[in-house]
Symmetry: C2
Subunit: 207 residues, 2 copies
């Protein structure tokens, strides 16, 4: 039995017999590239792994599933928003606290080019849209939780959270699709302005 029999065809231990560092990063980059090049569905986990120089199994050790690669940041985003809400003075109204928090995450978290690339991939695939929606829903739920911590009662907490996240979604959409020069705070403020005009009347018309 020769050395090559023992080592096999394994070309992955390059750095003086040690694993290449940052498998996670290489996988994320490889996935992004392939999703862009040929689309999400047309990309197999095996292909991603090969481009990253690891096995399929390793891909699934880093990412719960194929889609998760694109949603790494959302946990971080949520953490920041929650923290911002917690730090807002107690006398600020719930919705305003949420919107102020959203306002702060702007330049902080995203790089516009990356966001556009990501949004393009997601827009092309329903399964990815579902996952995005789930992230928003999770965010809404935890924002509502944060408001309850501040003493806001229940239907209002969820309503305010839902409203705030809607502002985020639409503001974000605008930030992505609009002129590159327009900044985050601007998009959010404009969306809020528009929102103020859609308050429903109390009387539901009977059809």
């Amino acid at each position: 039995m020769s050395v090559t029999d023992i080592v096999g065809e394994d070309r992955r231990l390059l750095l003086m017999g040690r694993w290449l560092p940052d498998a996670h990063g290489r996988l994320a980059r490889a996935a992004l590239e392939l999703y862009s090049e040929r689309g999400f569905e047309q990309t197999t986990a095996l292909e991603i792994a090969e481009r990253a120089g690891v096995t399929e199994r390793t891909f699934f050790r880093y990412f719960a599933d194929k889609r998760e690669v694109l949603f790494q940041g959302s946990q971080e985003l949520q953490r920041i928003i929650l923290e911002a809400i917690a730090q807002t003075p107690a006398d600020v109204r719930p919705v305003d606290a949420v919107i102020a928090a959203i306002d702060t995450v702007g330049g902080l978290v995203f790089d516009r080019a990356h966001s556009v690339r990501r949004a393009t991939i997601i827009a092309a695939n329903p399964a990815l849209q579902e996952r995005e929606l789930l992230k928003f829903s999770t965010l809404t739920a935890s924002v509502a939780g944060a408001l309850r911590e501040r003493g806001v009662a229940e239907p209002s907490a969820t309503l305010a959270a839902e409203t705030g996240v809607t502002v985020f979604k639409i503001g974000f959409e605008r930030w992505i699709t609009g002129t590159p020069s327009e900044d985050w705070a601007e998009c959010i403020r404009d969306t809020v302005r528009q929102l103020r005009d859609v308050t429903p009347s109390l009387i539901v018309s009977q059809v």
Copy 2:
């Protein structure tokens, strides 16, 4: 070669050699039962098919995927809401038109016991929640489209749609979890009342 060799073990052609009718209905019922009994993930498509007396392949001819069984009605719901919006007088404000439409679908579409059963199944599984979210998102998009038909400009149309669908979601949630006697219109009206208190201020506080 005997008759049984030709017919094989096929016990499915029962009605005088013809297929049993309503394969679709049998599949839907079988799926509902199994999802309730042992949960969504613990149920395989094969098991559903067997209980319905057909093959796995036939299941996938009727339903795009395992989840779709639970979301049959949403297309009908959307159709009704859109129609109601179209029939609302042109001078009614966008949000009010949406909410009025939502108000009308109440007793019409759902049977409460069935809704509760369905909601229980969905609540127990993230993959199903994703699908539900996608349906809401689709609904929002088409409601926004209907408002645009009425001449509502773009950021407002989506905002109003999003607001209306939020009222639907939260009102529905309340209708499901609250006391069985409380009726649909009641839930919607109360939710609207609460919503009116969460209008954001114009000035976003700078943190």
